[in-house]
Amino acid sequence: MDPRLIALELFLTELDIPVKINSLGDRKRVQKAVYLGQLTGVDLGYRFGWYLMGPYSPALTRDYYALAESLESDESELAGKRLHPSVSQRLRRIRQLLDVPSEIPLLQEDWLELLASYHFLRHVRGLSHDDAALQLNLHKPHLAKYTDAAADSLYEFRLLSGR
């Protein structure tokens, strides 16, 4: 198994995200969790463009299919391996961010889509909060009403700064 895939598997496990890609929801969860996880400075090298459901990396898609296939055939390469303590520490810091707040009635994959999309529009595209909220309202009306909560969470976990 490529070292990159081993790192990806351990990265997702540290974030409590199942390495399961059977449904759209599973795949979306992995995409957005890796996007958010990389913001902690644990850069796996995946670059995200803007797609219908927000940040998305075709290279990550290729890798999680390859990872799922490798895990099906042989998990032994993971034996005795773990993330470097400084990597684990950074990822653990945002684990709670990935849990949907109790007052928000969204599935985890949708919450992650909202967090990642808002972050992308603010940080990568350089939009103001109001403009990002407008874009989300236009393209993701089912998520847009929770934009403020997503913004608060990203600031709280220090994935956005300079409010």
Partner: protein
């Protein structure tokens, strides 16, 4: 709408490439000149001697094709400002500015090396600087060049172009739908990058797969009622032909048995260079090298020197053997190969099973012939003619999955018979792609590399592999 052409460059593929003053100034920077010394096709020239062209000529060609695509769309009625035309031509010109020496082989080695540093074995303890020790892919490195190379950045800024905006085009970061569609001219099944690649590769390898009817394709480029870039139905044959040509080009060049052998060897050697500290290519190093100018000499020649050094100084005998094999042009030998066409729908189940079996047989052969596992190289590929399969209807587009969306955005669209909406070529019943997109070519090979003097064992190993795997 043409910005003034101030210079013409003679090109074997396109004849004459016109450049604006700004493009000329960009090309003259040290960061761009570096691309002269990064070969576009890695080690392919060890098999096809003419295929030693650089990312420099490909970048000029991609800029030229982008200009032609934009002009064709403008003639079809797309509203396009001179400013935007220059933005997209610049993005095409600069799309490969961040490529490492040996391109994709190095990128793969860098990705595995630095993400591998995030993982430790139980009980292992070593320092890790996360800010520095992380990988950049070539597009991210390209953005770093645009932002960090003072010479290039100041030229763009003087003319009012934002380096970050240019990089967002080749990084697909645009979120505004019309801009994203224009950016697809640099990243789709039929884009400026792929068109130049196919024409240039065919020209330089001498293979006949570049006879693409580019003029006709350009003359049929349109925009549908939704603003999507598409082609008229009359271009169906020309597009089928283009996609088939690309398929055959892959089979004959990228998948050539000796090209693959050298690429596998190269990846291992590059990994050894990184492991042994002979080269450094972390994000931190890349950023610093760009700022202090070292980047402009980080090219194929530089890495060849390091491979030579590895061949003399490596403590690991297999590293030494592999480095020497590349320098002496002694490819690993093919001992077993399989190739079959399978249905896209079965998700390669048979191929996955075959993979398990092959890995187990390699372990057995390694023991049987007392050849360490690190001298065996396994290669696999699944090649599709189009990014997306044939079964997606346009109505499904409203429930698109992201994997599908990537495919849908990248797939060539053909205007329907009513002349307003367009549909993916794979959905057009008269298209060859409607049938062929159902299939995937699955290929797998085993190579082995033996020290000098032991080459006589290849035949014996080959027979044993055949016996095990058929």
């Amino acid at each position: 709408m043409n910005a003034s052409i101030v210079k013409r460059v003679s090109d074997p593929v396109h004849g004459s490439i016109g450049l604006t003053d700004l493009e000329t100034r960009v090309i003259e920077t040290r960061a761009f000149q570096r691309l002269r010394y990064v070969k576009h096709l890695g080690l392919v020239y060890l098999v096809f001697p003419g295929a030693d062209f650089s990312r420099f000529s490909h970048s000029l060609g991609t800029c030229h094709v982008m200009g032609r695509l934009l002009d064709a769309l403008f003639r079809s009625g797309l509203s396009l400002k001179c400013w935007d035309r220059q933005r997209f031509r610049l993005a095409a010109l600069l799309h490969d500015i961040g490529h490492y020496p040996f391109s994709h082989a190095m990128e793969d080695a860098v990705s595995n090396h630095y993400t591998g540093r995030y993982v430790v074995a139980d009980g292992e303890d070593r320092p890790l600087n996360l800010e520095q020790e992380r990988p950049f892919n070539h597009e991210r490195a390209g953005k770093e060049v645009l932002l960090g190379d003072e010479e290039l950045r100041s030229i763009l800024k003087e003319e009012g172009y934002d380096p970050e905006d240019i990089s967002s085009i080749f990084m697909r970061e645009e979120h505004e739908p019309n801009q994203r569609r224009l950016a697809s001219l640099l990243s789709s099944d039929l884009d400026a990058d792929r068109i130049d690649y196919l024409l240039r590769t065919a020209h330089h390898t001498g293979l006949p797969y570049g006879a693409v009817d580019l003029d006709y394709i350009l003359s049929q480029l349109l925009v549908d009622a939704d603003g999507r870039i598409c082609l008229s139905r009359k271009a169906l044959r020309a597009v089928d032909h283009f996609l088939l040509s690309r398929y055959f080009d892959y089979l004959q060049v990228a998948y050539h048995k000796t090209v693959v052998a050298f690429e596998l060897l190269l990846k291992d050697v590059l990994a050894a260079l990184l492991r042994n500290g002979l080269i450094e290519c972390s994000a931190g190093w890349v950023g610093q090298a760009i700022r202090n100018g070292e980047w402009s000499s980080f090219d194929d020649t530089y890495v060849w020197g390091k491979i030579r050094e590895l061949s003399l100084t490596a403590s690991d005998e297999v590293d030494k053997l592999k480095a020497k094999a590349i320098l002496d042009r002694r490819p690993p030998k093919l001992v077993w190969a399989s190739e079959f066409l399978g249905s896209r729908d079965d998700h390669g189940e048979h191929f996955k099973l075959q993979g398990k079996m092959v890995r187990s047989v390699i372990s057995d052969l390694a023991k049987q012939f007392d050849v360490p596992r690190s001298r065996w190289l396994e290669w696999e590929a699944d090649l599709k003619l189009t990014k997306m399969g044939p079964h997606m209807s346009v109505s499904k587009a409203v429930h698109l999955e992201e994997d599908d969306e990537d495919g849908l955005e990248q797939t060539v669209h053909i205007l329907d018979t009513q002349g307003s909406a367009s549909q993916p070529i794979v959905s057009v019943r008269q298209s060859l792609m409607n049938i062929l997109a159902n299939y995937v070519l699955y290929a797998r090979r085993i190579y082995v590399i033996l020290p000098e003097g032991e080459e006589g064992r290849y035949e014996e190993i080959k027979s044993a592999a055949q016996e095990h795997l058929g």
